[in-house]
């Protein structure tokens, strides 16, 4: 398959990465090349083969239903690009 500039712009929009049309064209040709390389997998017969979603060690665990304050709010907010008092501040998005 081939990725045209419009398709790359759509992917960039989905990924929330701003790219110029020129960059989309360049990235498109690189992605095309990588996708061409991975196309070889389509020749592998996977009939009745289940997907592997991990190494099989994950187990469903629940923790005790009690308050655990592991992070100090001030420390967490200290990494905020902009804050107002105890809140994250972001640009106004609702007119």
């Amino acid at each position: 398959m081939s990725l045209d500039t419009e398709s790359v712009m759509r992917i960039a929009k989905l990924a929330r990465i701003g790219l110029t049309p020129q960059e989309c064209a360049e990235v498109g040709s690189e992605l095309d090349h990588i996708l061409g390389w991975v196309e070889q997998l389509k020749n592998v017969d996977v009939t009745n083969v289940p997907p592997m979603t991990g190494a099989g060690v994950a187990t469903l665990r629940t923790r005790q239903d009690k308050v655990a304050l592991e992070n100090d709010g001030e420390d967490v907010l200290g990494n905020a690009p902009l804050r107002r008092g105890p809140f994250y501040a972001v640009p106004k998005v609702v007119e």
Binding site: V27, L41, V44, P50
Partner: protein, 492 residues
Amino acid sequence: MSRMTLTATRDALRAKKISALEVTDHFLAAAERLNPEINAYITLDPEGARAQAKASDARLAKGEALPLDGLPLAVKDLFCTKGVRTTAASAILKDFVPPYESTVTKNLLQDGAVFLGKANLDEFAMGSTNMTSHFGPVTNPWKRASSEQRLVPGGSSGGSAAAVAAGMALGATGTDTGGSIRQPAAFCGITGVKPSYGRCSRFGTIAFASSLDQAGPMAANLADCALLLQSMAGFDAHDSTSAQRDVPVYADALNRGVKGLRVGIPKEYRPDTLPAEIQALWDQGIAWLRDAGAHIVDVSLPHTQHGLPVYYIVALAEASSNLARYDGVRFGTRVAADTLDGLYEASRRAGFGEEVRRRILMGTHVLSSGYYDAYYLHAQKVRTLIQRDFDAVFANVDVLLTPTAPSAAFAQDEKPRDPVQVYLNDIFTVPASLAGLPALSLPTGLNKEGLPLGLQLIGRAFEEETMFAAGRVLEDAASFTHRPAHFAEGLS
């Protein structure tokens, strides 16, 4: 004198031949001297390291030494360290100071380790050259005999590997998603261990590809790696993929020998294009193990040829999902814009480097509507076939022996421009990662240009001890004592 090791330094500290503060000051001085050339550290933390060393000295004085008391380590800058900047080598996290400690580094600190600083890496661990760091490339401490060209240290744990190789730390933490501990260990002439998936907690380790990422130790030799892994490993309720298994005493396995051990040699790892010097090293490794009493068995992993494309679909899909959290709102770089989407797009554009952007776009594409089944789901099914290959082989052998990388370290300006060519560096390491198996790399020889080459051992899941035992036999036979061009002499 030649370099000290973790185990030898531990013994010297306990015998009070040297103090933890002296050890720390020595390695801080080495790091400060060599870092302008090597760039192995993004952040040095002399104050924190000296405070930890003084606490170690107090315990040592009372005869209450912890397992790692006073031992100076470099921490890959992918592990969150409370109060110490953690960047993942990315502009988007260049000022991030975690309010919490990763479980792996917490375990090491609880055992008395001293953290010298945060080691450079490929941005978000995406790369096998350490050329994608926002903080500049790491230079391999080794040089070719015939040239002054700067070589890559491998990646993504290139800073960790270079720091240990150059004598700027006695050990380091690394993470391995598709070979990011083993390949740089091979390029820098040190030892690196990727334990079984689930052996070390991923809590607090900045995620790249969650079903593959695994922390592991990097050090001068296997005994040092066994010492570090002992502290790093263990069940952690904070990580749902952490294995609820007892951690064996790895050091006890080192002298088991290989008599009667069955060592598999996968035929698919010997393509016609494999350089003669890599083939010769592999053959030498086979001979060493055979001479020590192992049975050599030819085996086949028929789906291994598909490992790399499967890896790149799975890893990039998971990366695109994991990196969605970097949106400039709660932490990290923010670029102002008129709309929320605009803020996301501008922040992520400014914060992510070229390789990370490429991988996020690729991952987003293979997960997007209409392509999910064709790419991601299909790749996960081929991944099952790769795992089944290993299951079948490990019914008949105890450990596999292969080369670690298809070449020695190459020059920074020789880095291929074609992403697919760069990805091929991981051809021998990726299959074990996909199957969640433990694997290690150790230095076993030099190429004709005087650069280190590594051999890889792959074990059954949660049987790291067998790898350590076989590795020790190779280590003894190889007697790798070569040192790189940039090397800070050990303590005398």
